[in-house]
């Protein structure tokens, strides 16, 4: 029964209807979690002894960074599925993920930079994590650029699938080499992104926001995927019927 479900899911038309009905069921918990996380993070969590209230930026920064990595994995995974099984749905999920992943990477970078100003006095530090995020942003932009450069969308999907798989293999290597590079010229300042141990009252909002962001990603990737699918299938009957009924 489960395999039949996945088989059906491969059909664009079925997926479109299925995701459409699923969306509200995901959007509401997402909003609830987001509000809960924001309330816990901005109001309930106590002020930090060292960093004052500026540490609250981590409730955006850290979940964004986690999502930026997670989404790249999903993108590469979907790409692999698309390459091996020629599944249209996988192709569409992969490219939809690229834009969202790039957004989260950008958000992680900007919030990291803004957090750095009161902490280190500069708008940018070549911290290992921030530098890795910057490189990750370029990896995402490369995928998006390659996809846009190829006219045939199926070829574009397969090319970017290869690129994301190559990227995913390289990400641990890049991460390790940047971290190592960072320790070489590390001054006496310990990176404040690494809290030695985090108090539960500060951890809960982080986990709430992380969960909220995950759900948010599912919601938004489905929305984008539906658009991408409509675009690709615009000459089929079911799409034309759908458009006429609007």
């Amino acid at each position: 029964m489960i395999s039949r479900f996945f088989h059906q899911l491969g059909s664009p038309r079925y997926f479109y209807r299925f995701s459409g009905s699923l969306l509200p069921w995901l959007a509401v918990p997402c909003a609830v979690l987001m509000l809960a996380g924001l309330y816990q993070g901005l109001v309930v969590a106590p002020t930090d002894y060292q960093q004052g209230d500026s540490y609250r930026i981590i409730y955006i920064h850290v979940p964004s960074a986690w999502m930026s990595l997670f989404i790249y994995m999903v993108m590469a995974g979907a790409g692999a599925i698309a390459l091996i099984w020629h599944m249209k749905l996988a192709e569409v999920i992969a490219i939809s993920s690229a834009h969202i992943g790039a957004s989260f990477t950008f958000l992680a970078l900007i919030t990291g930079s803004i957090w750095g100003k009161p902490m280190w006095g500069t708008w940018w530090v070549w911290d290992a994590r921030l530098t890795s995020e910057l490189i990750l942003l370029f990896l995402y932009l490369g995928v998006i650029a390659l996809y846009n450069a190829i006219d045939d969308k199926r070829t574009a999907a397969r090319a970017t699938a290869i690129l994301s798989i190559v990227g995913v293999v390289n990400i641990p290597i890049i991460h390790y080499s940047v971290e190592w590079w960072n320790t070489l010229h590390q001054g006496p300042t310990v990176t404040k992104f690494d809290a030695p141990s985090i108090d539960m009252s500060m951890l809960i909002p982080l986990l709430l926001m992380a969960a909220a962001f995950k759900l948010y990603y599912v919601v938004v990737v489905l929305m984008r995927a539906r658009c991408e699918l409509l675009e690709r299938e615009r000459n089929t009957q079911w799409v034309n019927e759908l458009a006429a009924s609007k």
């Binding site: 901005l42 109001v43 002020t47 004052g52 209230d53 500026s54 609250r56 930026i57 955006i60 920064h61 964004s64 834009h99 969202i100 957004s103 989260f104 950008f106 958000l107 900007i110 919030t111 803004i114 957090w115 100003k117 009161p118 948010y216 919601v219 938004v220 929305m223 984008r224 539906r226 658009c227 409509l230 675009e231 615009r234 799409v239 034309n240 759908l242 458009a243 006429a244 609007k246």
Partner: protein
Amino acid sequence: MNEFFHMGGYAFYVWTSYAIALVVLVLNVLVPLRNRRRLLATIARRARRARRT
């Protein structure tokens, strides 16, 4: 309440970050919504034109 907005003196940094996050999150929802609407309208228009000829 004022304490909340003041954020211990870091108001600018904290609220700018959250504001940017809000913009990014909202845009990522609005863009697909708008695209879908536009796409369906374009498809319907083309179909109508095709039927007419």
